[in-house]
């Protein structure tokens, strides 16, 4: 009797059809939970009564977000304080996630950093730090979570890269190359996880109003993070498209930018 239950748990059939039709977004891990876009995503997920595991550096800020999300309807909010840029801490994060949240179904990577391009040109340390945060550490932690989802043959991995990664530009190629590297990494990962039914979503926001962009004049004209968060949640919920440009107009802008021949592009200073 017990064996039968284990082999074919009640509701198993229902779960698998649900996975086909209604997307699951019940237990979500957010890496970089205090980033501006992540905050919007978390709120929308709280309204949908998700369970969340938030990872970020500051325990105090995590506690503030946790309180907010619980009032807004999140079923459960766990927090884990760690520095995601430091790969040595990844094992601890992953072990905690496996232990506290063994059946997580969605992982969103939302952290990143953008230095002034001039600084990265002048200092190799700053350059390496940017590549470390935006690409190396991101690829490292995604690999841990990807393998777990692949083994369980379920779930969704989403990561925020940037439209800046679509083409190397004079004024922002360090950040762009890190994010572009991450986009390529996700592209390959998507193909690898496809047979295991794990979705990989590449999120490419245009410039968004956030602490990362505040120092740029005219930042008030950048996209509203609430709108970006909304687009992300909708995409994760529907598990489509594979590559999200948000706001949507950036898909067309970047298509045009990519069509400019290199001989001309190299002369452009933007």
């Amino acid at each position: 009797m017990t064996i039968v239950t284990l082999a074919n748990p009640p509701g198993a059939a229902a779960t698998s059809t649900a996975a086909m039709n209604a997307p699951t977004m019940e237990k979500v891990i957010i890496l970089g939970a205090t980033s501006r876009i992540a905050l919007e995503v978390e709120r929308l997920m709280a309204c949908r009564a998700c369970e969340l595991l938030l990872v970020a550096r500051s325990p105090q800020r995590l506690a503030e977000i946790r309180a907010d999300l619980l009032v807004r309807g999140a079923r459960e909010v766990l927090t884990y304080s760690a520095d995601l840029a430091s790969i040595e801490q990844h094992a601890g994060i992953f072990a905690y996630a496996r232990r506290a949240f063994p059946t997580f179904d969605t992982v969103l990577l939302a952290y990143g950093s953008m230095h002034n391009q001039r600084d990265s040109e002048a200092s190799v340390d700053i350059l390496l730090e940017e590549l470390q945060v935006d690409f190396v550490s991101a690829a490292a932690i995604l690999t841990l979570f990807a393998s777990d989802l692949e083994r369980r043959r379920t779930g969704c991995l989403a990561a925020i890269t940037s439209v800046a990664g679509d083409r190397g530009r004079r004024s922002n190629y360090v950040y762009g190359s890190a994010k572009g590297g991450l986009s390529l990494f996700l592209q390959g990962l998507r193909s690898r996880l496809h047979p295991a039914d794990v979705r990989v979503i590449t999120i490419k926001p245009g410039p968004v109003q956030s602490p990362m962009t505040d120092r740029i004049p005219n930042a008030a004209r950048f996209a509203d993070p609430e709108q970006v968060g909304h687009d992300i949640v909708r995409t994760v919920e529907r598990r489509s498209p594979d590559v999200l440009y948000t706001p949507g107009v950036w898909r067309y802008i970047m298509t045009a930018v990519q069509l400019i021949p290199e001989t001309i592009f190299k002369r452009l200073s933007f």
Partner: protein, 451 residues
């Protein structure tokens, strides 16, 4: 991302000057620097780095004049400090950060059967802004102002850190911060009372009236029976104005599903010629006609009842590029003739607008040192900014207000004289000891001569 990269080429040290406008889009003022803390733990750093009288906390910028501006100095935009921290179901006390908007609170708590104790005519203001202006609503006669429902405030002060103000400790500071125009510090967190309601519906009643006396009769008669009362006024009609009296109570839950609507957005400032005495007069006649036709009782949703203007996003662009001024005053009830004189002058000028709002305040004691509401009749009117002739009309209205012993509302003002401020708030100096040495505002410097 061309814009972003162009910016990158500028040296990072140049502080960006930003033109930030208040809701009235007048005056046009540039600011040195706008700080946008994302977390409360960043506010002390900002205050430490600021020089004396250099910054002003700001919420959603819905004050009409210059009380949310700080010309050539800095602003602390509190919009990202928008976390709700706890809610006690047994008492209805909500604790949240100062930048949480009332719209957000309604979205989260109305489905759970709770509503704001007091709400102004727009839900797009922050809790911090509602406290700093001690805002009032259609239930002033029975609930007083927003500040009356505040239990505790945690205030970032540049000179003494995080100060907790409640009825037991720092009560004076609490009293100064309510209606304190943001000058006493940055509101980190506030605790205030929500109230139980059955649902999002309002049992509303519309009653047309034709004289000021009939408005007063209606108001008196309704005060005991209706939680919310307000009137719309056609200000072209002179001292015996026609208008529509709105009154309502929260309705029992009727199981009807409520769907929030997202209204259209005004994309740009309308050309100024579109708004003239004929078009406005035509609007007022139509508005009166439609509502007089619909008179009687009905059930409407809370957003239609409380926030009709919120349905058009950026409605302030209606008044054109030069912006507009709002004139909100209160006149003691025994000075009814002064009120009639005021209406006469507005009608005579031909510059009135479609947003004439009339309300009789209750007798609740003021919650803050600089609270505006006091017993009497209050009227709020918009005037498109058309240069000197608009300002001249307002000065002539000021005379009436000052002679009657009335007052003008700082949150709506962009031009009152220091003398009128003194007359409106004879005890304004009592707030001075509580002002944070690093805070100032354009409004405050204008009306008090402070540096």
């Amino acid at each position: 991302m061309p814009r972003q990269s162009a910016a990158r080429r500028q040296p990072a040290a140049t502080p960006a000057r930003e033109e930030i406008l208040s809701w009235g889009r007048y005056p046009k003022i540039a600011h040195c620097r706008v700080h946008k803390p994302a977390w409360n733990d960043q506010v002390p750093e900002i205050l430490n780095a600021a020089v004396p009288s250099s910054v002003l906390p700001r919420g959603l910028g819905r004050s009409y004049g210059d009380s949310c501006l700080n010309a050539d100095r800095g602003l602390i935009d509190c919009g990202r400090l928008n976390r709700i921290l706890s809610f006690d179901e047994s008492t209805g006390v909500l604790r949240c950060e100062g930048g949480v908007s009332l719209a957000d609170i309604i979205d989260v708590f109305l489905p759970k059967g709770w509503f704001l104790p007091v709400t102004p005519g727009t839900r797009f203001v922050t809790v911090g802004g509602a406290i700093a202006n001690d805002v009032h609503g259609k239930n002033h006669h029975c609930a007083g102002t927003f500040g009356a429902h505040v239990r505790q405030i945690e205030l970032h002060r540049s000179n003494d850190g995080l100060v907790i103000c409640n009825s037991e400790q720092n009560f004076d500071m609490l009293h100064a911060t309510i209606g304190g125009l943001g000058l006493t510090g940055v509101i980190a967190r506030a605790d205030f009372q929500l109230k139980r309601v059955a649902g999002p519906w309002i049992d509303a009643e519309l009653v047309p009236f034709h004289t000021l006396q009939s408005f007063l009769d209606l108001s008196r008669e309704s005060d005991g029976r209706f939680e919310y009362t307000v009137a719309w006024l056609d200000c072209f009609a002179g001292k015996n104005p026609r208008g529509i009296f709105f009154r309502g109570n929260h309705a029992a839950d009727r199981g009807k599903k409520f769907r929030p609507r997202r209204g259209p957005k005004l994309p740009f400032a309308l050309p100024e010629w579109m708004l003239n005495r004929y078009s406005v007069r035509a609007f007022n006649t139509a508005y009166y006609g439609i509502h007089a036709f619909k008179k009687g009782a009905g059930v409407i949703s809370y957003d239609t009842f409380f926030y009709p203007l919120d349905s058009i996003r950026q409605w302030n662009l209606l008044y054109g590029k030069q912006g507009f001024l709002q004139y909100q005053c209160v006149i003691p009830e025994r000075k009814l003739e002064a009120f009639e004189e005021l209406l006469e002058r507005i009608a005579h000028s031909g510059m009135g607008s479609f947003l004439g709002v009339l309300k009789q305040f209750g007798s609740a004691a003021p919650a803050g040192m600089l609270s505006f509401p006091r017993p009497g009749l209050t009227i709020a009117l918009d005037f498109a900014m058309r240069g000197e002739r608009t300002l001249k009309l307002m000065r002539s209205l000021d005379e009436v207000v000052q002679q009657s012993g009335g007052a003008l509302y700082p949150a709506k003002d962009a031009r009152m004289s220091p003398a009128l401020f003194e007359a409106s708030f004879p005890r304004w100096r009592s707030i001075v000891p509580y002002i944070d040495p690093k805070m100032s505002s354009s409004f405050w410097r204008r009306v008090t001569g402070a540096q």
